[in-house]
């Protein structure tokens, strides 16, 4: 652990950045700078002069960072991508998680291994969160559709709420479709008959 390391996070997802920054802070890395807007990215990185740069793979500005490998008068210290050629699993894990790390050339890999591991686990935690959020959102949307369809059936066919739902479910089973799909058809049909 090396609390003095200066870390830059380049990511335009504020939530994911916050999750990662939190994790780094908990582990004692207090020198963390976030860059969300990638305008003048290189100039900003040069002025921060970080030891480690973490960037989301979905960020097109990765190619901009690659320019740092080139000799340039602007670079104070050469930067290299963190690639441990002996450790294919860690590269795989970082690409799977969707993040990549660049470090100042010459930094020992032990000094940043824990940062990278933490980064990978936080990125993975974020995508789990995102998947759960998506699922919750679509479940909520489906419920709204089913409720509307139930209401239509109750009015048009003079059914109780339970009977309306049972009808939707039976139809879905018979037609081998999802209840929400059948419900959507009911709504569409009702709109056509308006």
């Amino acid at each position: 652990m090396d609390a003095s390391l200066k870390i830059v996070i380049v990511d335009d997802s504020p939530l994911r950045t916050a999750i990662l920054e939190d994790g780094l802070c908990e582990s004692g890395y207090v020198n963390v700078v976030r860059i969300e807007n990638t305008r003048d990215l290189l100039a900003r990185i040069y002025s921060i002069d970080p030891d480690v740069i973490l960037i989301a793979l979905e960020n097109p500005s990765r190619d901009v960072l690659e320019q740092m490998f080139q000799v340039s008068r602007a670079v104070k210290r050469p930067i290299a991508m963190f690639v441990d050629q002996t450790d294919a699993a860690s590269i795989q894990a970082s690409v799977d998680a969707g993040v990549s790390a660049y470090i100042v050339d010459g930094l020992k890999k032990e000094r940043i291994k824990s940062i990278l591991d933490l980064c990978i686990s936080r990125f993975n935690a974020f995508s789990r969160l995102q998947t759960e959020l998506e699922q919750t959102r679509s479940a909520l949307a489906e419920r709204k559709v089913i409720d509307r369809a139930k209401g239509i059936l109750m009015t048009v066919k003079n059914l109780s709420e339970d009977a309306a739902y049972a009808l939707l479910r039976r139809t879905a089973m018979n037609e081998n479709r999802k209840i929400a799909e059948v419900a959507q058809s009911v709504i569409t049909a009702a709109e056509l008959f308006k």
Partner: protein
């Protein structure tokens, strides 16, 4: 077909020169070879390279110099990559802001469609700006090891502009080029289709040059695979090459122009209007916001005139640029290694030997607008022809 069906994951960047790959996947040419292609749209060349290197992709649409850089271990880990098929020759353009266009036109000593005239004029613009203590001009390109970088450098250096000393060259992701030009963050850029057309359509850029005006035959994108993957899967590779060859022929048949433009335009492919992709494929480019067009049938070649057969002369030319700009030392071993990336033998193995000569192609295989003919066995002579160049820093390994 007796061969086993196989599924391949292939990375690409949304650009018109992925046409052969996209058409191979979406028009059934790959399926006819028993291949199911999962095309994965990527946002950066670094992602494409890394995912190819670690085996997440079986193959990729890659800028040709990146395949060489990766095989030579320049700028990144050394992973031998080979190119058994050329996806495109030419196809880039240099676009400048209206202000820079006007400045170049104002000091030109002839027609600026001629790159000799425009490059000399650029040198004058640079000198004027320096005399007035103005900021140096900034040009966008796509990657340190990119054709765009070398095309820009080749053009401006021929006019006496030092690309490292007199102007600033910055890497910009292609989708950011247009807004950077609009916002005044760059004065010009070199990029592939459709981004030059997008800038012209928005009225914020003039296409100054097609790259085919600078180099008649400049390899652009290749189908890239890991050397090891190629060795382990010779049959899959041959099928992949055949599918690409048929797709390229389909793209080049102008009776299919509208259909190909539509296929490329799809949101999960290049994602622009078919009208824009059509312009690139046809070589009928709108070059100025007032609607002026310029035609060149060499604008983008997708297999025509033998352009899909990997050519070691092209690999040598790219290596020569890598050396000229100080990204690698000059050595016979590195030259041989660069040439060995372009695998005409694998192309021939899949498609049968194709020794045909094509009329109208440059004698040296490159056709540069400036300098002596290129000799792929004498990179030293190529470098000796230029005053503006860098030496490889000895302190770096």
């Amino acid at each position: 077909m007796s061969e086993r069906r196989a599924r391949l994951r292939i990375g690409f960047i949304p650009l018109c020169d992925a046409a052969a790959l996209i058409v191979a996947a979406d028009k059934g040419f790959a399926a006819a070879e028993g291949l199911d292609l999962d095309l994965v749209r990527e946002v950066s060349w670094a992602n494409v390279r890394d995912k190819l290197n670690i085996g997440l992709f079986d193959a990729a649409h890659l800028i040709a110099p990146m395949a060489i850089a990766s095989s030579l271990g320049l700028g990144h880990v050394k992973v031998p990559i080979i190119a058994p098929f050329g996806l495109g020759v030419n196809g880039n353009a240099i676009t400048v802001s209206p202000a820079l266009y006007a400045a170049i036109a104002a000091v030109a000593d002839g027609n600026i469609v001629d790159p000799r005239v425009s490059a000399r004029a650029l040198a004058r613009v640079v000198a004027h700006r320096r005399a007035r203590n103005e900021e140096p001009l900034t040009f966008g390109m796509t990657f340190p090891f990119s054709t765009h970088n070398y095309h820009l450098r080749f053009w401006m250096a021929a006019g006496g502009v030092d690309p490292d000393e007199d102007v600033r060259l910055v890497v910009l992701p292609p989708p950011y080029m247009v807004e950077s030009l609009a916002g005044g963050h760059v004065d010009g850029f070199c990029v592939g289709a459709p981004w030059n057309s997008v800038a012209v359509d928005l009225g914020i850029g003039f296409i100054l040059h097609f790259v085919c005006e600078i180099l008649a035959r400049a390899v652009e994108k290749v189908l890239a695979v890991r050397d090891r993957w190629a060795r382990e899967n010779p049959d899959l590779l041959a099928r992949l090459v055949r599918a690409h060859d048929r797709a390229a022929a389909f793209v080049e048949d102008h009776t299919n122009l509208d259909e190909v433009a539509e296929i490329l335009a799809a949101p999960n492919r290049v994602g622009v209007t078919p009208e824009v992709t059509r312009r690139t494929l046809a070589g009928h480019m709108k070059v100025a916001p007032d609607g002026t067009t310029r035609f060149d049938d060499r604008y983008l070649l997708v297999g025509r005139n033998g352009t899909s057969r990997p050519d070691s002369t092209q690999a040598a030319w790219l290596y020569a640029q890598i050396v000229r700009w100080g990204q690698a030392p000059l050595s016979a071993e590195l030259l041989d290694a660069a040439k060995a990336v372009f695998r005409a033998d694998l192309f021939d193995a899949a498609l049968g030997a194709q020794g045909a000569k094509f009329a109208g192609e440059p004698c040296d295989g490159i056709g540069a607008f400036a300098g002596p003919p290129f000799d792929p066995n004498d990179v030293k002579a190529h470098l000796a022809a230029w005053e503006i160049k860098r030496s490889f820093p000895k302190s770096r390994s």
